[in-house]
Subunit: 227 residues, 2 copies
DNA sequence: GCACCCTCATGAAAATACTGATCGTCGAAG
DNA sequence: CTTCGACGATCAGTATTTTCATGAGGGTGC
């Protein structure tokens, strides 16, 4: 899950980035409306968190531009205490929720999780399952065949992506941009290495392998066909 | 399921009413203690949410009157962060649980559901248990394996959070916002230090450790897997 | 003065990235 | 059908970076 934060105050922005990334999200941070809009237009975010008070292009203009260009990702906006009209305006423009500053990080996290869950048609569960492999998003735990497996943060993020889109072949460039915050830089093999480590934990010692390489295309996680 | 909210601040009350009714509860709202008590005495509520700071008849008096007249419905009360005595007092008077302001709506909802699920079960509800570790909210005491452990206020608050959400990995920023009132402060390591002190009291000298670090993600309290 | 809780500095450990070598697989050509 | 070449995948070992634990020092409030 990838989140864009648009917040001009560096300290707040940095803190939000840090906190959300501990909570398992991939986070980009833009310092003003123009940059924010630019990034958001790439369309690769699952959620945008938008401060309304921004120098230059303000929060509504960003939101408006996004919606006008057909981008439908959820938007959570941050507004000042007594600006009640703000929230009405924001919701009219198509925001999904708002938070009044100052807010607690716990509150933000709860909202973010609610919004992201909402999209997935009623699936209240925090557990992803493929065959006998389970990944619990909230507890941040993974198990296969009931046996607990401990993963590092990157491994967890990678597996989460593979499981969310299981059955789908994911190109390396996609993996690079979702799990790492990099645009594919061909002279590194971080991904191969990460896949290898993940395989060691997930597939080694199991008859049925779940992670498969698709030559020239990428990787896919799926339970093999029955015969 | 019918809930009564007693809250004098209109904005908060309205917010709670709205949220809970969206969640599928039937909700009544009283603006002061007298009205609240009056409504509650009709005895048709499954839960009462009670702000302790009320003009006129305060939360305690309402709670006390209810219990004295034999009404046993669960009561969840709302208290300020620094009023530790309030929490004890409330539990002593027969409330079922409390929530510290400011809280997130998600938190409230979770607490409400827990209380309604378990029904009214008196003082048992004031003790949190994980493995051989016990935390008594009412007496503000902690023990492990029957041996008493004395904690400071911060340590107690931290442990309470960890125990309430045991099994869940808690990001530092979440901990910071819940236990401290630090919402956007990143350059501090209070949490590491507090965890260390807590570990010294909870885990040192025990074979099974309950507090675990999850690198890059946060901390979790849980009993290790059995094999 | 005594708890308590914060900050700071430092070292250790873990996670991650990089390097370069080897291995496998696929397709083209014989 | 077989062989060979090339590209990508895999792997181990090492370097680097990030994160965490820890002990000490100092301030604050009761």
């Amino acid at each position: 899950m990838k989140i864009l934060i648009v917040e001009d105050e560096p300290k707040t922005g940095e803190y939000l980035r840090q906190g959300l990334s501990e909570a398992g999200f991939v986070v980009d941070l833009a310092q003003d409306g123009t940059d924010g809009l630019h990034l958001a237009l790439q369309g690769e975010y699952d959620l945008v968190i938008l401060d309304v008070m921004l120098p230059g292009l303000d929060g509504w203009q960003v939101l408006q531009s996004l919606r006008r260009r057909g981008l439908q990702m959820p938007v959570l906006f941050l507004t000042a205490r007594d600006q009640v009209e703000d929230r009405v305006k924001g919701l009219e423009l198509g925001a999904d929720d708002y938070l009044v500053k100052p807010f607690s990080f716990a509150e933000l996290l709860a909202r973010v999780r609610t919004i992201l869950r909402r999209g997935r048609s009623g699936n209240e569960s925090t557990v992803l399952r493929v065959a006998d492999l389970e990944l619990d998003l909230l507890r941040r735990r993974v198990s296969r065949g009931g046996r607990r497996i401990s993963l590092t943060a990157k491994e967890f993020g990678l597996l989460e992506l593979l499981m969310r889109r299981h059955g789908e072949v994911l190109p390396r460039s996609l993996i690079a941009s979702q799990v790492w915050d990099m645009n594919f830089d061909s002279d590194t093999n971080v991904i191969e290495v990460a896949i290898r480590r993940l395989r060691a934990k997930i597939d080694d010692g199991h008859e049925v392998k779940l992670i498969h390489t698709v030559r020239g295309m990428g990787y896919v996680l799926e339970a093999p066909e029955e015969h």
